[in-house]
């Protein structure tokens, strides 16, 4: 799941979780020097910062730190750990599989913003499509598969980001739990706000909506 790999039946433990690129080290003497954590309590700290100490507010980023292993002894502990590494990731996956997931399109998300973020909904559809190409997907360090559209009638343009499976490790779809993006993240909302501001300040910007352009001319 995401950048995590689970291994069962290792040294009689229920499950050992590592960064997928460290999975092989579990079978080396001394666990290959991995720092051992028993139980799920360290998951939040591990998920919170990159190796160089940067805050990972978007947990879907493909910069999960390496060099650790987590030993878990029950399914409950595993679920708790996963909910720290990828908040709500398991539940969203299960709901999607059962066809009960309510996906939230971008316009719905932007229209519910408040304060300074209310401006975000002013972004044009073309501007939003550009942003997806610019900041989403594995080429921009996000491991999530986007489920939402711009609105009910406007699907995402075809791109590496819109096509991505949500599985960053080299695994088949039936071997992994994909990370799913049911609503645009707050980073995307923030970028929408900035882009909308640029569009509105530039009357000649190709993405500025005709109605906004007329309104700005009237100021």
């Amino acid at each position: 799941m995401g950048e995590l790999e689970f291994q069962t039946n290792v040294s009689n433990h229920f499950c050992i979780v590592t960064h997928w690129q460290d999975a092989g080290r579990v079978n080396e003497p001394g666990f290959g020097g991995l720092e051992r954590h028993d139980g799920p309590s360290a998951a939040r700290d591990l998920a919170c910062r990159t190796e160089d100490g940067q805050y990972r507010f978007n947990k879907g980023q493909t910069n999960l730190q390496r060099g650790w292993m987590m030993v878990l002894e029950s399914g409950e502990d595993l679920r708790q750990a996963l909910d720290q590494f990828y908040p709500a990731g398991v539940g969203v996956f299960l709901a999607h599989r059962n066809d009960t997931l309510e996906v939230e399109n971008l316009r719905d998300k932007l229209q519910r913003q408040s304060g300074m973020y209310r401006l975000a909904d002013k972004i044009s559809d073309a501007g939003a499509q550009q942003l997806i190409r610019k900041i989403c997907g594995p080429n921009h360090a996000c491991a999530r598969r986007i489920l939402w559209q711009i609105d009910a009638h406007t699907p995402l343009d075809d791109s590496e980001a819109s096509r991505f499976s949500g599985i960053p490790a080299p695994l088949a779809e039936n071997e992994a739990i994909p990370l799913l993006c049911r609503e645009a993240c707050n980073f995307f909302v923030e970028e929408c706000r900035k882009a909308a501001q640029e569009e509105m300040l530039d009357l000649n910007h190709p993405n500025t909506r005709a109605s906004d352009r007329a309104g700005l001319r009237g100021l």
């Binding site: 309590s41 939040r44 919170c48 910062r49 805050y55 507010f57 978007n58 947990k59 909910d83 908040p87 709500a88 398991v90 539940g91 969203v92 299960l94 709901a95 009960t100 997931l101 309510e102 939230e104 519910r112 408040s114 049911r182 609503e183 993240c185 707050n186 980073f187 923030e190």
Partner: protein, 274 residues
């Protein structure tokens, strides 16, 4: 107040969160861990307006059919009255959403038991200060946009003044409305002053802005989690001894206040049903 175990219910703690640093949500997670360790609920989760999981995603983390929602906010206001009900699709004290019953509790900051936490924090930060020679100032943001946040502080001031704690004076002060915290030395009649920030987390205001207004720092420092040096008390400033505590929301007993709000919800809304 002790709370009866709820082995078939979930607790959902709702915080603001931040896209800039983990300090805003850290107390939420710590309170959730503390409550989880007590084994009172089948599940304990957090969700946030500006962090993951979002309020809408939280629904998918919960397996239980009954959910108590407690806002980790300092007062009633825009977030507790507009944002949280809208995002969680709550329509009243109890709402059934796709087969789950959500009970919406009041925010932690409005509970009377916060008074106990403020007094405890004041004693911790200044254990040797004689209350009779000490002014206790509770400080908050203060803004014309939300009168409730200042009212929550004024309520605490009244309760502490009536509590018999023995402080020479108990005052409220704010960053952006009078009485201004920057004038703490002029409003305090005693040689010793304790300032307790009435915020949910150590973030921009309590750890960076207010220390500058108090005169402890010359310019805003780094976020709490990035600082190496603990702010040492007391500070000899403006001919007084000043003790400055971290935000009240970081107090570990806030977990008890969360449970108090659940117990209060049951008493107010469920007793009629039983």
């Amino acid at each position: 107040m002790p709370i009866a175990p709820k082995p078939h219910s979930a607790l959902l703690i709702v915080g603001h969160g931040s896209t800039g640093n983990p300090d805003s949500s850290a107390p939420c997670f710590e309170h959730a861990d503390a409550i989880r360790r007590r084994g009172l609920f089948a599940e304990v989760h957090c969700c946030f307006w500006k962090e993951e999981p979002s309020l809408r995603e939280a629904f998918y983390m919960i397996d239980s059919g009954e959910v108590y929602v407690v806002p980790d906010f300092i007062s009633e206001g825009y977030f507790t009255q507009d944002v949280i009900p809208r995002e969680l699709q709550l329509t009243g004290p109890s709402t059934i959403i796709r087969g789950k019953t959500f009970h919406y509790c009041l925010p932690v900051g409005s509970h009377p038991s916060m008074t106990r936490l403020i007094l405890r924090r004041a004693r911790e930060v200044a254990p040797d200060a004689d209350p009779a020679q000490t002014t206790l100032i509770i400080t908050g943001h203060g803004t014309h946009l939300n009168r409730n946040s200042a009212q929550a502080i004024r309520d605490q001031v009244s309760r502490i003044a009536a509590s018999g704690a023995g402080y020479a004076a108990v005052l409220d002060a704010y960053m952006e409305e009078p009485p201004f915290i920057a004038g703490w030395d002029l409003m305090a009649p005693t040689p010793q002053v304790i300032v307790v920030p009435f915020f949910i987390a150590d973030g921009l205001h309590s750890y960076q802005d207010i220390p500058v207004l108090l005169g402890i720092e010359k310019e805003p420092g780094a976020a709490a989690s990035q600082r190496d040096i603990f702010r040492h008390n007391p500070h000899h400033l403006r001919d007084k001894l000043l003790y400055y505590s971290s935000a009240i929301g970081t107090e570990r007993l806030l977990a008890d206040v969360i449970l108090d709000q659940v117990a209060d919800f049951d008493r107010m809304h469920k007793s009629a049903l039983t």
